[in-house]
Structure formats: structure tokens, C-alpha cells
């Protein structure tokens, strides 16, 4: 009961970067996760904030860890605002 709410609340972290990426993950992928992926996601959530962020942002993976499809999803999540996409809109005259 209330698994989604529980998972969403536990995406509240000390780092804003993680708040945004994890919430986005919940919105996009959570409902489609299988048993094993759910366990992987929970294991990742148990990591300290800075370690988890380094694994997501700098692709620092721990040696001997199993391949983690969930981590790869987190690494590829685009967390920018959809309405601001076209890169050239920010283009400068350089």
C-alpha cells in the first residue's frame, strides 16, 4: 500500500541535484520497474547522497558491483525543463 508515495518521499534528499533526478526517475520509470529493478533502486537510495550523486553524475561505479540497469537509467535521465530544450535558443554570437 502506498508504495509509490513511500518511494517518492524517500527521493527527498540532502542534495537538490538528487531531489530532481530521483523525482524525475519516479515520474518516468517507477511504475514500469520489475521486482529486481525495484530492489536495485532501493539499494541505490540507501547510499549516502554524495556517493550516489558521484555514481550518477561522474559515472563512478563501485568495483565488484553487479551491472545495474537502474543506475544506468538514472545516469541518462535528462533533468532539464522540457520547455527550455532547443540548445540554439541559448546560442551566443561566438
Amino acid at each position: 500500500m502506498k508504495e509509490l508515495e513511500r518511494a517518492r518521499w524517500r527521493c527527498r534528499r540532502g542534495l537538490l541535484e538528487l531531489d530532481i533526478v530521483l523525482q524525475r526517475f519516479i515520474d518516468e520509470y517507477y511504475s514500469g520497474l520489475g521486482e529486481m529493478e525495484l530492489r536495485q533502486f532501493e539499494a541505490l537510495q540507501d547510499l549516502p547522497d554524495n556517493d550516489l550523486w558521484d555514481m550518477i553524475a561522474l559515472k563512478k561505479e563501485r568495483i565488484n558491483s553487479d551491472p545495474q540497469p537502474v543506475l544506468h537509467l538514472l545516469q541518462t535521465i535528462a533533468a532539464f525543463q522540457e520547455t527550455k530544450i532547443p540548445g540554439n535558443k541559448y546560442g551566443t554570437k561566438t
Partner: protein, 587 residues
């Protein structure tokens, strides 16, 4: 409705650095301590602090606490209380060594002493050469501190209530504080936690702004609870903005980018900082750069469809430099701005970062308010420490690395004071009959509200209103309209409706309750800012560009009940040394 009651010696709300430092002292003294936290303790926002802890250890260059005190007074733009600042700077070395003995993995010099690095605003000899005062554990000092304190608390048998949210203060008829009501998020159960001492350490509240570097948990719950129970909020007009948060999301782009040679551009491709700060240019101090960005946007030179941000360019540094020296920044830009800085600039805006104001306390962490006869009467049984408190050591503007010091010094000081006070008060005060009424009424209102407002929409309106009307640079008309608009937003917040009425893990209810707290903080900020007709520290007004010590060398006190303001003098007299009289603040 009867609710469950439990008794503790001390209840602490918040498990960041301040709450856990206090809890450790109290548990080790043999007291029965409960610590409430909305999230697991090591996920508190303290983990985001990278810079380090200021302490005049003198391990690298000569230093002493008196120089540190001068820097802090000057940085505060003379609004800091000099007794509290002396107290903090004198205790800095001791709290750092204590933390070292707890097992904190500080970086080391070759001789084995704690490594220290220079940081902005730190000087030798009262404004002379750069000092080297910041003690750090790589770029994750806050993280290391939080984990160290958590482990020690587990050893000391501190009792943590994880995923609990404080709802309201419990005050006796005579005004003394005798605990809090709190909600167990897991079960939806409300409990009265009765305590001989109640300590708030709930952190910051920059989520009131649209652009904020703060984590989602930073909703000012302690300030909301204090304000609702008649405690004033102090100096709420003072918020530090960081000039380069990623547009739309707030994630911080560190000063390191500009240090490496990155610079800011407006929509015409102009390097506009040359106009505002001809010498320092893009490396001018945070408040100067933030104000320049705001001026560019206001004058129509912002970028993008809504002309609402500026660009941080670093592609000229070359792919190799960016990959080698700024890998984390590059990832943040790609993830949060969809821009690879090797090829494209990063869209940025000034972003709310730190709250200098808060619950008024003295330097023993006791909450003080003009609620009986004097302007700074101790509210018996009530203490606050860390970002939620206003001691005030940061005054109008906080110096980097003074926030981690603040939470250690005043977390410990509050605990020391509580231990002393509890010897005099061996018994719990009788619980007032209406102890939980306020909290239960708010919950009942949420349960029965029909045709109400959507929480997310009201929150978004509040954040946009604060950003537009009370941001980095403040204009008289915008502030006046802002007070009115926030009044309307506050009315809407009293009519929020949630669809989920269940008890177990009802996060919609939590978010509605958080909004109540955010509204208190936002309203206090807007009203206080509108009234202060000068520019000082982080409060910059277009119509009053100068500091005005004749009229405004005083602290603001905002009372929620009737949105009334009061003022109290700045404590200019230190404990043992000569006062630093106000003078022009130049760097």
C-alpha cells in the same frame, strides 16, 4: 480527539548538523533525547555544504579569532550581534578539534595538522592579507560532518524519529514551551512529544523562492511553527543569493567556473560584468554579480524566449580543460540545462541560497522575544540553533564557511544551556488542555476542505511572487504589490484541498502542511523587506541604495498574527574586546 503523549527530557526537531551536534551533547549527558526528522538524518541539507568550517587554527598562516571576528562583523554589514560573533569565533578552534576527535576525516597537512584553505572574506590583521582559515574534508565537508555526528549519536543512544514531521509548538498558559505535536508520516498518527526543553534545528527555507539552491526538504518548518505560536521572526529580509544557479532548476554552478576563466554574457553577447565591476569583473563578490544579473534581466537584456536568464560561457577554455578541471560542472550543465559547456553556454540566474534571518535567539541558543516586559525575554523551554535561528552572527550577509561553524558552535551551546537549565527544572510542566488543538485543527481543516485550492499551484504562485517581487534587487512598487499579492496567496493557502484523505504515507497532506510553513516564511520576508528602506548586506533596494546606520542599525522582528513589525537594537558590545564600529564595507 485524544492523542498519544510521550515524555522526553529534550525534543529536537531537525537532524542536520545543528540538531545532531546538540543531540550528541545531551545524550552523552544522560538525558532522554528524541530527534525528529522528515528524512533519514544523513540526508539532511548539511550534506550540501562543500566549502569547509572557518576556525582560526593558524595551521597554514598566522591567524587568530579576533581577526575572524572582524571579518564576520564586516561581512554582516554591521548587523551581526558582536557578543554572539565573539562567542562563535572564540569557540571555533575548540569545536573543530572536538569534531576531529569524534572521527571527522579532515584533510591533513604534511605535518599531520588539519589542512586549511583560503576562502573569500577571510583576512589577517583586520582587513589585511588573505587568511587561510577554512578546515575542509575535500569538497564534502558537510557530508563528512553529518555522518560523523550521526555515528556518535547512535553510540550515545539518541532516539531518532525518522520520517516524522513537527506540526506545532505546545505552549503553556504562561507562554513557556513544553513540547511539540508531530505527525508520523508512515502511520498518519499525531503525537504530543512533551519535553522539558524543545530545540528547533530545522534548517533553511529558500524553497519560498522560484530559483533556490535548497533541497526540497527546506520548507522552514521550525519558523512556521514558531511564528504560528506567537514567536517573532528576525531579519527575514536578508537572504543570500548565489549568482549562478541553473535557470529553471536552481542547481548551483560553483564559483570555480568563473575562477577558471568562464564569464557571463547577456543576449547581445556582451560581457556585461565589465560594466558593473571593471576590475574584478566576473569574480566580483556574490552580491555584486547577483545584482548585475538582475539589472540585465530587468533592462531587457536577458536571454531566451522570456528574456529571463543570462549565459555562463566557458567553451573558450577548451574541451581538455573543462574535462580535466570541471567534470562535475559539465555533468550538471548537461543534465540540468541540456547544454554541454564544451560547445554551449549554461543558462543561469541568481538563486536563493541561505537565510540569514530566523527565530531570534541569544548566543546560548535560548529563544528570545519581547513577549513579556523586555525586548529580549527568554522564552522558557524553547531553543533554536543553525540556519533556522537568528543569533545573529551573520547579520545582513553570511561569510562562506561560517555556516558549518555556526551549527557546531550553537548546536553545542544550546545543549550546554539546556543541561544547565534542566537541573533547575526537574519536572515536566503540566500539559495544557488545548495542547494539540492548533495542529489538530489544521489537519481537520485539510480533511474537510471542499472546492479548495491545489497545493502545488498555490506553492508555485508563492514562489513566483517571491522571486518577482522580493528577489536579489528590490524595487518599492514591486515590494508594495508583493505584500498585497502575498496576502492573497496566504488566503488561498488557508483553503488548500487534498484529494487523498487517507492516513498512511499521505505525502499530499505533508506537502500541504509544508506550504503552511513556507507561507509564514514568505510573508515575513516580504513584509520585512518592504519596510526596510535602506540597502545593507544582501538586502538591496533600488530606491535606497545606501546603508543608513542612523535609522536602520537595528534588527527587524515580524509577528505573524497581525503582520506587525517591531525592531530591536543590534548588540554592538562584544564580550571582552572593543566594539567594531560601523564603517563603509569595501573589498
Amino acid at each position: 480527539m485524544t492523542i498519544i503523549k510521550r515524555k522526553f527530557d529534550v525534543v529536537i526537531v531537525g537532524a542536520g548538523g545543528a540538531g545532531m551536534r546538540a543531540a550528541l551533547q545531551l545524550s552523552e549527558a544522560g538525558l532522554k533525547v528524541a530527534v525528529l526528522s522528515k528524512v533519514f538524518p544523513t540526508r539532511s541539507h548539511t550534506v550540501a555544504a562543500q566549502g569547509g568550517i572557518a576556525a582560526a587554527l593558524g595551521n597554514v598562516t598566522e591567524d587568530n579569532w579576533h581577526w575572524h571576528m572582524y571579518d564576520t562583523v564586516k561581512g554582516s554589514d554591521y548587523l551581526g550581534d558582536q557578543d554572539a560573533i565573539e562567542f562563535m569565533c572564540r569557540q571555533a578552534s575548540e569545536v573543530v578539534y572536538e569534531l576531529e576527535h569524534y572521527g571527522m576525516p579532515f584533510d591533513r597537512l604534511e605535518n599531520g595538522k588539519i589542512y586549511q584553505r583560503p576562502f573569500g572574506g577571510q583576512s589577517q590583521n583586520f582587513g589585511g592579507a588573505q587568511a587561510t582559515r577554512s578546515c575542509a574534508a575535500a569538497d564534502r565537508t558537510g557530508h563528512a560532518m553529518l555522518h560523523t555526528l550521526y555515528q556518535r549519536n547512535v553510540r550515545a543512544y539518541t532516539q531518532f524519529f525518522v520520517e516524522w514531521m513537527g506540526l506545532d509548538l505546545i505552549r503553556a498558559e504562561d507562554g513557556d514551551v513544553c513540547g511539540v505535536t508531530a505527525l508520523d508520516i508512515e502511520t498518519g498518527e499525531v503525537m504530543a512529544l512533551l519535553a522539558r526543553a524543545t530545540l528547533f534545528a530545522t534548517g533553511g527555507a529558500a524553497r519560498i523562492f522560484n530559483a533556490s539552491t535548497n533541497a526540497f526538504i527546506n520548507t522552514g518548518d521550525g519558523l512556521g511553527m514558531a511564528a504560528r505560536s506567537g514567536i517573532p521572526l528576525e531579519d527575514m529580509e536578508f537572504w543570500q543569493f548565489h549568482p549562478t544557479g541553473v535557470h529553471g532548476v536552481g542547481v548551483l554552478i560553483s564559483e570555480a567556473v568563473r575562477g577558471e576563466g568562464g564569464y557571463l554574457l547577456n543576449k547581445d553577447g556582451e560581457r556585461f560584468m565589465e560594466r558593473y565591476a571593471p576590475h574584478a569583473k566576473d569574480l566580483a563578490s556574490r552580491d555584486v554579480v547577483s545584482r548585475a544579473l538582475t539589472m540585465e534581466i530587468k533592462e531587457g537584456r536577458g536571454c531566451g524566449r522570456d528574456a529571463d536568464h543570462l549565459l555562463l560561457k566557458l567553451d573558450h577554455l577548451g574541451a581538455d580543460v573543462i574535462r580535466a578541471r570541471l567534470p562535475g560542472i559539465r555533468e550538471i550543465a548537461m543534465k540540468f540545462a541540456n547544454a554541454d559547456p564544451i560547445h554551449a553556454p549554461i543558462p543561469v540566474v541568481p538563486t536563493a541560497h541561505y537565510m540569514m534571518g530566523g527565530i531570534p535567539t541569544n548566543f546560548w541558543g535560548q529563544v528570545v522575544a519581547p513577549y513579556k516586559t523586555g525586548p529580549e525575554e527568554v522564552v522558557q523551554g524553547f531553543y533554536a540553533a543553525g540556519e533556522c535561528a537568528c543569533v545573529s552572527v551573520h547579520g545582513g550577509n553570511r561569510l562562506g564557511t561560517n555556516s558549518l561553524l555556526d551549527i557546531l558552535v550553537f548546536g553545542r551551546a544550546a545543549a550546554v544551556k539546556i543541561i544547565e537549565d534542566l537541573k533547575k527544572n526537574p519536572h515536566h510542566k503540566p500539559l495544557p488542555g488545548d495542547a494539540a488543538d492548533k495542529a489538530l485543527a489544521r489537519l481537520a481543516r485539510l480533511d474537510s476542505q471542499k472546492d479548495g485550492e491545489n497545493v502545488a499551484q498555490v506553492t508555485a504562485t508563492m514562489r513566483k511572487t517571491m522571486q518577482a517581487h522580493c528577489g536579489v534587487f528590490r524595487f518599492p512598487d514591486m515590494l508594495r504589490q508583493g505584500v498585497e499579492k502575498m496576502g492573497e496567496v496566504a488566503k488561498r493557502a488557508r483553503q488548500t484541498e487534498i484529494k487523498d484523505k487517507s492516513r498512511v504515507f499521505n505525502t499530499a497532506r505533508i506537502e500541504a502542511l509544508e506550504l503552511d510553513n513556507l507561507i509564514e516564511v514568505a510573508m515575513a520576508t516580504m513584509v520585512s523587506a518592504e519596510a526596510r528602506t535602506e540597502s545593507r548586506g544582501a538586502h538591496a533596494r533600488d530606491d535606497f541604495p545606501q546603508r543608513d546606520d542612523d535609522k536602520w542599525l537595528k534588527h527587524t522582528l515580524y509577528f505573524s498574527e497581525d503582520r506587525r513589525l517591531d525592531y530591536k537594537p543590534v548588540r554592538l558590545k562584544p564580550l571582552t574586546v572593543e566594539s567594531f564600529p560601523p564603517k563603509a564595507r569595501t573589498y
